[in-house]
């Protein structure tokens, strides 16, 4: 997974003095990730965690002093696009936005700038990228996965934790887990992650975790058909929710999406993917 993060990555945190950024910077430190510092405009020159991590005003200052090449973004939604654009311009290679629910038009601007850059964006609304035992660039719970040869890619963060936990309970290890995020406009997609896993020598099998809304699973299916030779197992939740029982009454950030009524699993099946109907099917399929 050296394309996204590796043991050599120098990870920084944008928004390191905020409530969430600070907490998770410490969690990452505790899990042994190579975290080198962070930004918090106006607090440059301060230190976090008893002098362990330096704080800078800008991303470029942080890069100059720490050689940061991966940034995990925790700043609130109104400032997230600005933070991502700052990281792109400063030359951060992998930008991981934990913050989600970013205004759509902000993301349109980010995506158009991203297109002409060498940066990769993971998220927004991503749990991060996890290389068990090597690096946790994000908010994955501590000790959630063992090191191994299964690559995991998921739209939902919590569902990714569920799957990692199930794999761990069954003694199955993971090469990398990538949360691509569940916002309407995201950076890296299923296809790019599948491509990474396909060429990663430490990954033998792939687990893809999907859900209702959008057609990213359908696109993943056609990509798998054409380009993926490693075995893929898919777990798609909410596939068969009847529209009649889901009354999307109200929600702040979008409503429950209607289920694809089996279309996604069908497309994946046709691409040669094995389907897990419940969580516990995943370890069984991986071991068979």
């Amino acid at each position: 997974m050296t394309n996204l993060i590796s043991a050599q990555s120098h990870i920084m945190v944008q928004g390191i003095t905020g409530r969430r950024g600070r907490f998770h910077a410490l969690q990452m430190l505790k899990t042994g990730s190579q975290i080198v510092g962070g930004t918090s405009p106006g607090k440059g020159g301060e230190w976090c965690f008893e002098g362990r991590l330096p704080v800078f005003d800008t991303v470029s200052d942080c890069i100059k002093s720490t050689n940061a090449d991966v940034s995990v973004v925790f700043v609130p939604p109104h400032a997230t696009a600005d933070a991502i654009l700052e990281a792109i311009e400063a030359g951060i290679k992998t930008i991981i936005s934990i913050t989600g629910s970013i205004p759509l038009q902000d993301m349109m601007v980010v995506k158009s700038v991203l297109k002409n850059s060498d940066s990769i964006l993971v998220g927004p609304n991503s749990p991060g990228v996890l290389l068990p035992g090597i690096a946790n660039a994000g908010i994955f719970p501590n000790d959630i996965a063992l090191r191994g040869n299964v690559g995991v890619v998921s739209r939902s963060g919590t569902l990714c934790y569920e799957v990692l936990d199930t794999l761990k309970q069954n003694g199955i290890g993971v090469s990398a887990a990538i949360g691509i995020g569940d916002d309407q406009i995201i950076g890296i997609d299923f296809q790019s992650c599948l491509e990474l896993f396909e060429s990663d020598p430490h990954t033998d099998q792939i687990v893809l975790i999907g859900g209702p809304g959008g057609d990213s699973e359908l696109k993943a299916a056609s990509f798998i058909m054409e380009h993926v030779t490693k075995p893929v197992i898919a777990f798609v939740v909410g596939e068969n929710l009847a529209p009649s029982i889901v009354r999307p009454f109200f929600s702040r950030s979008g409503s429950l999406s209607l289920a694809s009524l089996g279309k996604k699993t069908l497309a994946l099946k046709e691409a040669g993917v094995r389907i897990a109907n419940k969580l516990n099917d995943i370890p069984i399929l991986l071991s068979s």
Partner: protein, 381 residues
């Protein structure tokens, strides 16, 4: 978030888009007074966010003062999709020679706004068969450089629109895009644009949707939610920044994240059990919002049992647990609570709760859902 027609039109009017005169009324007497000011014929349009307004009898043309009060009262009695009509927009009726469609829509696939123009306007545009037949031109707009004159020209020349009208079309397209940007819209739809006998272009009907993720900087819309649509629970959900979904069952669910919501829902359904409500506290919830979520479920008479399924990443289980304890100390109705806390600070969260006699604890989603469904069927724990 959809805006009502009158809200959309007031935004478009202040942006300088030509619209027929219109005013909002709340009763038949007001309708009559406004119609006299505007001049007959007028169109009376029920204001609703539901579709099917026309077929429900919510739009009527009135030609003279004799019929106006009767027709208004008939419209105020119309129920559209369970929602009674509370407001009527009284609008000058125009005669026109041609109809068009113009919209700025959001292409999420390619992360770009799109200018869409069609020669077919009005209700016919929305019927899919004619949509396929009609000439529709889509032009992606570079969000960093904005909508360009030539893009509009390329679209309208394909429609065979008289060059004398180009200026009017260009003005309207630019204004529509300005509204889209200024108000963080996901959709600005002018359907239809009409051409009058005087060769003037007007917007007859319009829809605007605002990106609910931008409400923090679009404060004027924070109160634009129609209060008739939202009960106490929905307003609480809005206040505490949680997602709230209503179902016809008996289990009140609290989860973090949509993926876990669907997983829980799938497992409940596989046991023929339905939620009464599904609350997604989202990532990094505070104790205030978890307290409020539990309070909503304990107060909801349809909720017989509460199911809490939290796998914390950014959500800290101890903080969530603190919120649940706060809610339990508010003297609310007591209900059995089936709970699973896993992930970030999971152990300290469980330590806070373990003395609580209303709660039963589980290690996995499957065990949690099985026990909840079993309890509803009358099984002993």
């Amino acid at each position: 978030m959809k805006l009502q027609e009158y809200q959309a039109k007031s935004i478009l009017k202040s942006a300088g888009i030509p619209l027929p005169a219109s005013t909002l009324a709340t009763n038949a007497v007001q309708v009559k007074r406004i119609a006299a000011e505007i001049g007959y014929p007028v169109v009376l349009k029920a204001q609703t966010l539901e579709s099917g307004r026309g077929s429900a009898g919510g739009v009527r043309i009135v030609h003279n003062e004799r019929e106006i009060e009767n027709i208004s009262n008939e419209i105020f009695k119309v129920i559209i999709n369970r929602h009674p009509v509370q407001f009527i927009l009284v609008e000058k009726a125009l005669t026109f020679m041609d109809e068009f469609y113009l919209a700025v829509i959001s292409d999420l696939e390619n992360s770009t706004p799109i200018l869409r123009i069609s020669e077919a306007g009005g209700a016919t545009f929305l019927e899919s068969s004619s949509f396929e037949d009609a000439l529709v031109v889509d032009r992606p707009i570079d969000i960093n450089t904005g909508l360009k004159d030539y893009q509009i020209r390329e679209a309208i020349t394909k429609m065979g629109i008289d060059p004398q009208l180009w200026k009017q079309f260009q003005l309207i397209a630019h204004k529509a895009y300005e509204v889209y940007r200024q108000y963080d819209a996901t959709l600005v739809e002018l359907n239809s644009l009409v051409l009058t006998e005087q060769n003037q272009v007007f917007v007859l009907d319009a829809r605007i949707s605002i990106d609910s993720q931008s409400l923090f900087r679009q404060e004027s819309f924070a109160d634009a939610f129609d209060p008739t649509y939202f009960g106490w629970e929905e307003r609480q959900a809005l206040k505490y920044y949680v997602d709230y979904h209503i179902f016809p069952g008996e289990v009140g669910c609290i989860v973090n994240g949509m993926g876990l919501a669907y997983l829980t829902l799938d497992q409940l359904l596989s046991l023929n059990t339905l939620p009464a409500a599904m609350i997604d506290i989202r990532g990094g919830a505070t104790s205030t919002s978890t307290a409020s979520s539990l309070e909503m479920l304990l107060l909801n008479p349809r909720v017989k049992v509460v199911l809490i399924n939290i796998f914390g990443g950014m959500t800290r289980c101890d903080e969530a647990a603190n919120g649940f304890l706060q809610a339990l100390n508010r003297g609310l109705p007591r209900k059995p609570i089936f709970i699973r806390l896993e992930g970030t600070n999971g152990d300290s969260g469980l330590d806070l709760l373990h003395n609580n006699e209303n709660m039963s604890f589980f290690g996995t989603t499957e065990a949690l859902v099985n026990a909840t469904a079993g309890w509803l069927r009358g099984e002993e724990l």
